[in-house]
Amino acid sequence: MHLFLLGVSHRTAPVDLRERLDFSSRDLTAAAGAIATKPSMSEAVVLSTCNRSELYVATTDPACAREELVSFISEYHHVSAPTFQPHLFALENSAAVAHLFRVAAGLDSLVVGEPQILGQVKDAYQTSASTRCVGPVLSNVFRWSFGVGKRVRTETALGEGAVSVSYAAVALARKIFGRLGGHRVLVVGAGEISSLTAQHLRTQGVGEIVITSRTHAHAEELAAVVGGLAVPWDSMTNALGAADIVITATGSQRPIITRAQLEAAQGHRRGTPLFIIDIAVPRDVDPAVGEIEQVFLYNIDDLQIIVEENLSRRAAEVERAESIVNDEVTKFMTWQRSRSAVPTVVALRQRFESIRRSELQRLEGKLGPLTPETRARVDEVTRLIVEKLLLEPTEQLKALPDEETQAAYTEAVNRLFRLQDQDASEPSKRS
């Protein structure tokens, strides 16, 4: 049985094609079920995110599976095969294992190390598992990949540091205030980044979000989106005095928050920190504001520098993450080979055991006069001899370096001990 992977990703296909081949918007279980019942395939997992649509299958014939999968994709999405075929990538066995491990580790993501992908891999597997579309091949490799994803995240800094401006702002807020519960946010001017940042802050459990904008309707719109409170523009100074986090994003040509204004508002604050995120260009906050003792002022450039630093830090971790993935691929393949040696080992043991029993049977007449204790001892000794004889061959069979060698050894053992003649109903096989 082979592991076979066919798919498109952001590395091989443009976004419009990926959208057309997206499985996630439709019934994933039906797709996996349809694939798993194809003649050449027995198991299927469909991994579909905005950056990839990948079909993992267990098949006896990869070439045949590829053809069947191409025609399936074409029919399922109503896209002609020549449209997407040049963008497909196909991988088999260890290469497919390595790919899945890289995906789970976040190494194949558009933003390297992004955290969602591991959950998406788990969901894809669960969806197939719930409809019994997975068997030993996919089950083992997917379960192993969860561990790889976790290992890369704990042992490297691949997923560390915010890589978008809004997340960078939230991470900074957490570093200043700790838990954000109960802290008040003031959003001045409604724009895309301020909306995103406010939403991220909301998910972190901030207390109140107050929004003000020169156009009150904009403030109300954003308030509805983030669950905040829209206040009139002229009450901004009051709101400034009560806020812990301020996000400014107006189109104003001149600073709207000055040092004097803020110092007046700070009078009531008694030393509690104030974090100001100035996303506007030109800037909304007078840079002198950042000189006030407990004020932390970050503008869009500062945040972008943080994002770039984090991205380069992640890039520096890629090598370590790749080596973990390679290490895990080797471990997985070795483990799998040791498992595929199991039927041969079992057959060999059965062969030896049946010889032992038949010899004891043959000597029944001579052993008859012995006391039950002595007979038990004879039985024990013969069993131990068999165990000892088999110990080394078992270890060796499990530790063979590659599939070819393993096939040769299995064949040799089968012939030397006539295993298949002896147990024809359960031939030793490789998976």
């Binding site: 704990t154 560390e160 540091g161 900074l172 957490r174 570093k175 200043i176 205030f177 700790g178 604050r269 008694r270 030393g271 509690t272 920190p273 950042g290 003792e293 407990q294 932390f296 970050y298 500062d302 520098i305 943080i306 630093e309």
Partner: protein, 275 residues
């Protein structure tokens, strides 16, 4: 006898440093375990010494330092286990290890002075050692606050940013440690004064007791330390001196406390030399 705790503290210190640099939680847990083990052995050592001299081993400089280290370790462990925050360990362990070297290198002999045979004296010393332990924690929290503050304020998010807890948490912990320390310092000084008055009636000619006055450097610096911390709390409440100012004041206060505890005792004071 103090060597085994020192070795365990040193091992914990190395583990805390590795944990801080690599952010490996397994090493972090190992560090805490080593420190807990060190504190346990140290408790045993102090227990043995208490049984030997029939009172807490404070009346000898080295033993007082050892007791202080023990209290500091327990206070730090309390802080770590209640906040689940290990990154302070790398800052506090050097203080613990450095001070524990004193009793190891100069064990000293404890002389039981009949003047000291009063419960007031033991309450006085225990309170002050505990106050110093709190100030040590506050001082370390203050230093780490300043490191973190500098990185965030200057927008150079680097080594400490990724490793230390948030500014607000550091500030709150600092404020608590200073308050607890000040309560014990105040209590300790008052008890000391009461005991001196009592002891003078028993041993009017004792040179130590005669030297107990505001002119004595030890007492003077103790009151100065008390002044610094009282000011820190007052300024926080009244003018909102939190954050970096509070951090700076608590570091200054700790410097005074340590000079008083270590240097002045050794070289200058004429009171407080019962050994």
């Amino acid at each position: 006898m103090n060597t085994l705790p020192l070795l365990l503290y040193a091992a914990a210190g190395v583990a805390y440093a590795i944990h801080f640099a690599r952010r490996d939680s397994t090493v972090g847990r190992a560090a805490t375990t080593l420190l807990l083990f060190g504190a346990l052995v140290h408790t045993f050592v102090i227990g043995m010494q208490t049984m030997e001299v029939r009172h807490l081993p404070f009346a000898n400089f080295s033993r007082a330092v050892s007791s202080f280290v023990w209290l500091l370790t327990l206070s730090y462990l309390y802080l770590e286990l209640t906040t689940d925050e290990r990154s302070m360990g790398v800052f506090i362990l050097p203080v613990i290890i450095g001070l524990q070297l004193i009793p190891v290198l100069h064990p000293g002999v404890e002389r039981a002075d009949p003047v000291l045979d009063s419960p007031w004296f033991w309450v006085h010393v225990s309170s002050l050692l505990f106050a110093y332990a709190s100030f040590a924690l506050a001082g370390v929290l203050g230093v780490t606050y300043m490191l973190q503050f500098k990185e965030i304020k200057k927008k150079h998010l680097g080594y400490f940013y990724t490793r230390l807890p948030s500014l607000q948490i550091l500030d709150i912990m600092n404020s608590r440690a200073v308050t607890v320390g000040l309560v014990f310092l105040t209590f300790g000084v008052i008890v000391g004064a009461v005991w001196t008055a009592q002891a003078r009636t028993i041993a009017p000619d004792d040179p130590n007791l005669r030297a107990m006055s505001i002119d004595d450097p030890k007492i003077f610096v103790a009151l100065l330390t008390w002044g610094v911390y009282s000011f820190a709390i007052f300024a926080r409440r009244t003018w909102g001196w939190t954050g970096r100012r509070a951090a700076w004041l608590s570091s200054l206060g700790f410097a005074f406390a340590m000079v008083n505890f270590l240097a002045i005792n050794y070289f200058v004071t004429t009171s407080h030399t019962f050994y």
